[in-house]
């Protein structure tokens, strides 16, 4: 009797939850920034007229971009090795990538505190080797944030790309060889072009993840390397300036959505398998 609506009925609870508790609240947060008494774009003027906040936005973009480039490059080369490894070694390598991925962001960021701290392993090692007398302050720098972010995202990248590379049929690679393509030529002319859509998807994950990160920049960047996530928390929970926090939230959503839309469209255009 209700067959026509069965699909809607069954998905109704989940749909309701997402609409009521995600779409509406997030939309409300964003609209709130446009109905300020001071004028419809006043919060954004305030944001962009502050040199400090501009720096934070710029720093976040920079960190995200560098993290993405390093993670994609490292992830792709590693995934290539994993995908070409023999059966048992391959599953071992995959498990070794899954383990950090399932271990939380806090734990994995915290590990770098132990390594990079003033009394950390790296400094102890450098002093022990006689390379330096005074410990370097490596923590709370852009570098420390990037290292930890790369650490965060490389496993994700490896696992995504192993999947992509394994989807390239063996016989296509063999066809290239039978037509005289050397391993290097096969990599350049066949494997890499076929992996590009996957690379883009992975890059989107890393970029948006880095751009909206909180825990890692908080632990390893602190006050001196404030990024959008930590700035938003500070505005909302320390300064109790919710308009300003909402503005940051809106910028995050816009950047994320823009990157996702642009890149997925690019990935679709470049994906020959889609046709």
């Amino acid at each position: 009797m209700l067959k026509r609506f069965a699909g809607w009925t069954l998905s109704a609870p989940a749909t309701t939850l997402v609409v009521v508790f995600l779409v509406l609240p997030v939309a409300a947060t964003i609209t709130a920034t446009f109905i300020e008494p001071a004028g419809i774009i006043a919060p954004y003027q305030a944001f962009f007229s502050s040199g400090f906040r501009r720096t934070v936005l710029w720093r976040t973009l920079e960190i995200s971009l560098i993290t993405t480039i390093i993670s994609v490059a490292v992830g792709f080369l590693t995934a290539y090795v994993v995908a070409r490894s023999p059966g048992r070694i391959k599953s071992l390598l995959i498990i070794a990538a899954v383990f950090p991925l399932l271990t939380g962001v806090v734990v994995r960021s915290f590990a770098w505190l132990i390594i990079l701290g003033r009394n950390g392993i790296l400094n102890n090692f450098l002093i022990g080797m006689g390379i330096t007398d005074e410990p370097f302050s490596m923590l709370y720098t852009q570098g420390s944030v990037i290292v930890a972010m790369v650490y965060l995202f490389v496993p994700l990248m490896v696992l995504t790309l192993v999947g992509v590379l394994e989807n390239i049929p063996d016989d296509v690679v063999q066809a290239a060889a039978s037509l005289g393509a050397s391993p290097a030529a096969t990599f350049r002319q066949v494997i890499f072009p076929l992996a590009v859509p996957g690379l883009i998807v992975g890059a989107v994950l890393v970029f948006t993840g880095s751009f909206t990160a909180y825990a890692t920049p908080q632990l390893l960047g602190g006050e001196s390397q404030m990024v959008m996530g930590t700035l938003m928390y500070q505005r909302a929970m320390v300064a109790f300036d919710w308009v300003s926090a909402s503005t940051i939230a809106a910028i995050m959503v816009v950047v994320t959505v823009a990157v996702v839309l642009f890149m997925t469209r690019a990935a679709r255009r470049l994906n020959p398998m889609a046709t």
Partner: protein
């Protein structure tokens, strides 16, 4: 195979894996150090930092809260996610394409924005209890995993089996539980595990939805690190890693570890 990997490439991969494993080994070692500060390699070996976790009330309470929230959120997300995934596959033609996108939104929208919005609109706006708001937030962020993983196993499910059961006289609801669900069992297990671990480890949504008396373990760790730099944090981290190991062992037992490779 005649097409061998270049040794330099293999060397690079080995370095990457050292980079991936090293920090976790270091955390493990630091947790065992018989010092009041974090150091590696451990100086002296002790398990007292593990005991210390449970002597600190905040850790005891947040561990309980985290586990409660993770279980409840996962159960809720499965409860509403399984019918949704089923509908998306079974009634594909009558449902619009954007519906499946809707269920991915919680991954697409920055979590920190979601957390803040829930704080503004639900916890403060509607004066909802903070525990309830936290639960809603966690249910939202684990829902995409449930819907997508179960959808993926339903995608390879042959719905004519279900029709066969119904033609043999089984009622539709009963058919779902006796025919459909057993066939996507591995998907449900995988979804449960992914959802649970995602919830336990979450920072960004919980960040705004904690208050006096209610907090989650990762938030408590962040707070603790700001004040103390003792091995207790390393030992809590080891506990969380052991949880990961346990989860992977469960996956191995039930689905085989190759499942993780997908």
């Amino acid at each position: 195979m005649p097409n061998r990997l270049h040794p330099a490439l293999i060397g690079f991969a080995v370095l990457v894996y050292l980079f991936l494993m090293g920090p976790l080994v270091i955390v493990f070692g630091a947790a065992l150090s018989d010092t009041t500060f974090l150091t590696f390699p451990p100086q002296g070996l002790t398990l007292r930092w593990f005991e210390r976790i449970f002597e600190i009330g905040a850790f005891r309470r947040t561990i309980v809260t985290s586990v409660e929230i993770a279980f409840l959120a996962t159960a809720l997300a499965l409860l509403i996610g399984i019918p949704a995934a089923y509908a998306l596959n079974r009634y594909r033609i009558q449902l619009p394409a954007w519906l499946s996108t809707l269920f991915v939104l919680p991954i697409l929208v920055p979590e920190i924005v979601l957390g803040f919005s829930l704080l503004r609109l639900v916890a403060v706006g509607q004066s909802a209890p903070i525990f309830l708001t936290l639960l809603i937030g966690h249910t939202l962020i684990v829902l995409p995993y449930c819907v997508r993983v179960i959808s993926a196993s339903l995608a390879s499910f042959d719905f004519s089996i279900e029709e066969a059961a119904i033609s043999l006289g089984s009622r539709p609801i009963k058919t779902f539980f006796t025919i459909v669900l057993p066939n996507v069992r591995s998907g449900v297990i995988a979804a449960f595990i992914l959802a649970f671990i995602t919830s336990i480890n979450d920072v960004s949504v919980s960040l705004f939805l904690t208050g006096p008396g209610i907090s989650t373990l990762p938030i408590q760790i962040l707070a603790h690190v700001e004040q103390f730099f003792d091995p207790v944090i390393a030992s809590v981290s080891v506990l969380l890693m052991l949880l990961t190991v346990a989860v992977m062992a469960i996956v191995e037992r039930t689905l085989g570890l190759t499942f993780l490779a997908k």
